[in-house]
Amino acid sequence: MTIILDNLSVDFDEHFQLQHLNWEVQSGQHWVISGGNGAGKSALIAALTGTGNIISGQLQGLPERIGVVSFAAQEALINQERQKDDADILDVISIGTPVRNIIFDDCLDPQTAQKMITKFALDYLLDRAFRKLSTGESRKVMLVRALSCKPQLLLLDEPFEGLDIDTFALLQDYLQELALQVPMIMVLNRFDEIPAFITHIAYMEQGQLLHQIDKQDTEAYNNLYQLLHLKTTELSVPACDPLSSIPKLDPSQPLVRLTDLTIKYDEFVLIDKLNWTIEPNQHWQLSGPNGAGKTAVLSIITGDHPQCYNNDILVFGFQRGQGESIWQIKQFIGYVSTALQWEYRVQISLRNVIISGFYDSIGLYSKASDRQKSIADQWLALLGMSDRADQPFQKLSYGDQRLLLIARAMVKHPPLLILDEPCLGLDDINRQLVLALIEKICAGSETAVIYVNHHTQDKIAGIENYLALAKD
């Protein structure tokens, strides 16, 4: 059996579409479909059961008997039962269809059905009306139905939702056995619930299949896990530390004011009389071709460029070159760039990388307070890296390092966050991870963001000011 979705687009009511799905499910494979709310996971299951209008592309190779468990199917059955009740014109109280009939009418495999009933200890409700069951009970009944239709394919949409721990374990075991014979596609949003037999994981967003990975690929698996975590977690950006908070700025003053900024090397003029003012809470996108001087301008602001001392630069209330130290400037800035990642070559744990953001240092050279440690742990939880808190930073994947450095930049809630091509060098999934984190940050803080990026598709919601630098 091979199910093939070839550039399939399916239209549903309420203006939802599955778009251009390309996917192959081969025999011997078991898939989990993951994704945030509204990503289209259940729609995909529905499309496989024949719901929705195919507007283009092809869907081939579906077997004849498909066992389905989903809230949609459950709801449909309950509605059907309710209607029977409404349709009852006799003046007697309708008890609705008993569970026994729901299970055994049209059952192809009564033996299995009986086995499942015993397993789930459902005997006691066989004579009750299906529509009177609790959600968990009716879910178990749906499972029994799906498993006893001699299925050639099982479509399970959040099959473990609403199950108590014992039943969850029973079902996991049973599916494990069944997986030897029947291919399965299940929607799951908790990676810790993924059964051992699953071979592949797909990730959906906005009606599209964005990633399909082999579960054996540990790195891809971890990335997907984190992406899903960031998309679905209800955690928000941790608070800053009141004890290591940065001085208050005058809100009527700009954060940054560059007046006639000129950067030159020998006779070569890189930046010629640039004027730029950044107000508090104002987000900017900075663009320009390679060599236009984007990073040089940013490093003038951060104080890393030596020519900041020969220009008229006001940053965070300091007119540069009047006896301020760079640490007085840097305390107001969170900064992430590829160069920073290259320079962050010290032996340090993940937790301490985040804490180093309180000190604007590469490496940690101060004793961290318990409060700082706790804030760092909250960030790790947000990133889905809690279990790796004490691991060495250098052992992390490139994309995970980037995420961590973004958290480091934000840990003190700086008035200005500079993201210099934060997606540079990242593959697709890591790019999405970074963008997901940045969106989370932009949504929940009073930080002005300067975002440098060439990729127009990496736009971030909420940026309304643009500065484009030209070359020469």
Binding site: Y265, D266, G303, D304, P306, Q307, C308, Y309, N310, G323, E324, S325, I326, W327, Q328, E343, V346, Q347, I348, N352, S356, Y359, D360, S361, I362, G363, L364, Y365
Partner: protein, 491 residues
């Protein structure tokens, strides 16, 4: 010719000055850079130390500019470029020196006399003259005007590291001193501390020492264990491996990166930890070899220390300065022609542990060199703290420069003074170890012990472990690394 200042002092004063070295507490730097705030600091010399210290000081909020010779400005020499591209104000000595509150002399040792003689008459009354090395004062007997304060702030790392660590938010260990003959206002210590804060040194640890202790220990360390031993060891180990049929590319790589790898263990846990990285039989082997090496090399270490103490070394070197560096340049050219230098490292992988297992002799050489340098220095009156920093502590830094670009890079990075001493050591040590090397086989350098049986005699192992841990360099090392770890979380 100059008068050696050290030799003019009575013995008790010599001993008192040599014994000065104290690890300072962080709270002694609570005043930050205030003592220098608003003062005009003028740097002379825009090389690696000059430029990078200036960048740090300016980023710490201090007023820094560079005085260059008129020709350097007119011809837009590298020093002029370094300063102007980094946005510093640049002027001639005549322009800047008379306005300076502090003049930072960051030129190479051999220019000190000329530079100080040129600037001293222009300096304003009561200003401060700062050095990064005490050679000019101690060995050349420079007499500085009575009204001037003379201090030393010596970051114990190459200039590039001084900057890199500062940018990370840290610093490099730094030695400070006040020349007591030139502290008319008693502000020398406050200025030196503020300067150390300005370069970030206070975060990594500051040693309060004396000009004399700095010079005599610095010269000893750099000539013997730091540069000399690693140079001689590299040449001997390479030639031996190749003669015994080890692949030349492998031999070259094992040495080039081996020093760095094994001394990394030294940095973290002293000689003990470096030997603990070996298997038990290899550890006992390395211990025995190092004991043998110490007996053979001790007279050489004594000679170096004696020549440094009585001024012979600096006198002979200054004769070469006067002779246009004929010896130095000749020896430098010879180094470039050695077989080790000319054989590129192979592209095979060598695992971290393999550097230990196949480099037992290198481990033995480091142990012997560190212990001998430490023992010789402390026997000459240098206090343990100074002796530790100038032997064990700096060895990994030099090993790191060899890993980057072999001996040539190492000699290019260190000062001419260190380089001169390194060649003297090497020329004496190569023949001295000739007989010893005859008995060396690839089991201790190149291929590792043939370990059919990893068993060792318990009593002997206990003896070796006890001897390792009982060496005085380990005691002071444990204490000082404890201070450092408080400041820099190493793990």
């Amino acid at each position: 010719m100059s008068n050696n200042y050290f030799n003019t002092l009575p013995l008790r004063e010599q001993l008192a000055q040599l014994a000065k070295c104290r690890f300072m507490n962080m709270d002694e730097f609570a005043d930050g850079v205030n003592a220098l705030k608003g003062k005009k600091m003028v740097v002379i010399g825009c090389g690696a130390q000059g430029l990078n210290q200036g960048l740090n000081l300016r980023d710490s909020g201090l007023d820094v500019s560079y005085a260059l010779r008129a020709e350097a400005i007119a011809e837009k020499r590298q020093s002029w470029k370094n300063a102007t591209e980094n946005g510093f104000a640049v002027g001639t000595y005549e322009d800047l020196i008379p306005t300076a509150d502090v003049v930072l002399n960051l030129t190479p040792d051999k220019q000190h006399t000329a530079v100080v003689n040129a600037v001293m008459p222009m300096m304003k009354e009561g200003a401060c003259l700062s050095y990064s090395h005490g050679f000019n004062i101690v060995e050349e007997g420079m007499q500085v005007r009575d009204d001037l304060t003379v201090i030393m702030v010596a970051p114990k790392c190459p200039g590039s590291e001084v900057r890199a660590e500062y940018v990370r938010g840290f610093g490099v260990p730094t030695l400070i001193a006040v020349h007591e003959d030139n502290d008319p206002k008693g502000e020398g210590l406050a200025l030196a501390k503020a300067y150390a804060v300005g370069t970030g040194g206070h975060k990594a640890g500051v040693l309060m020492s004396s000009f004399i202790a700095e010079v005599k220990s610095d010269l000893m360390g750099e000539q013997t264990i730091l540069c000399g031993m690693l140079q001689t060891g590299s040449l001997l180990c390479f030639d031996k491996m190749v003669a015994e049929g080890v692949d030349a590319g492998y031999a070259s790589k094992l040495i080039q990166y081996g020093w760095e790898t094994i001394t990394e263990a030294l940095k973290y846990g002293g000689v003990t930890n470096m030997l603990d990285r070996l298997s038990n039989p290899a550890k006992i082997k390395a211990f025995d070899l190092s004991e043998e090496l110490k007996v053979i090399m001790r007279p050489l270490y004594n000679k170096h220390q004696d020549d440094i103490m009585n001024g012979t070394f600096s006198r002979v070197m200054m004769e070469d300065w006067a002779n246009d560096d004929k010896n130095l340049l000749g020896w430098r050219a010879e180094t470039a022609e050695t077989a080790f230098e000319k054989t590129p490292a192979g592209d095979m992988d060598i695992a971290e542990q393999e550097y230990f297992d196949n480099g037992i002799l290198m481990v033995a050489m480091v142990k012997a060199g560190v212990e001998l340098a430490f023992e010789t220095m402390t026997a000459a009156g240098i206090i343990d703290e100074s002796a530790y920093y100038e032997s064990l502590h700096e060895t990994p830094l030099i090993a790191n420069t060899i890993a980057r670009k072999k001996l040539y890079e190492m000699n290019a990075t260190i000062s001419d003074t260190a380089e001169y001493g390194c060649y003297l050591y090497n020329h004496a040590c190569l023949p001295l170890l000739g007989d010893f090397m005859k008995d060396i086989k690839t089991d201790v350098i190149g291929r590792g012990l043939d370990l059919d049986d990893t068993g060792v005699d318990n009593a002997r192992l206990i003896e070796v472990n006890a001897a390792l841990r009982a060496h005085p360099v380990e005691a002071i090392g444990t204490t000082l690394r404890g201070h450092m770890a408080d400041m820099k979380k190493i793990v």
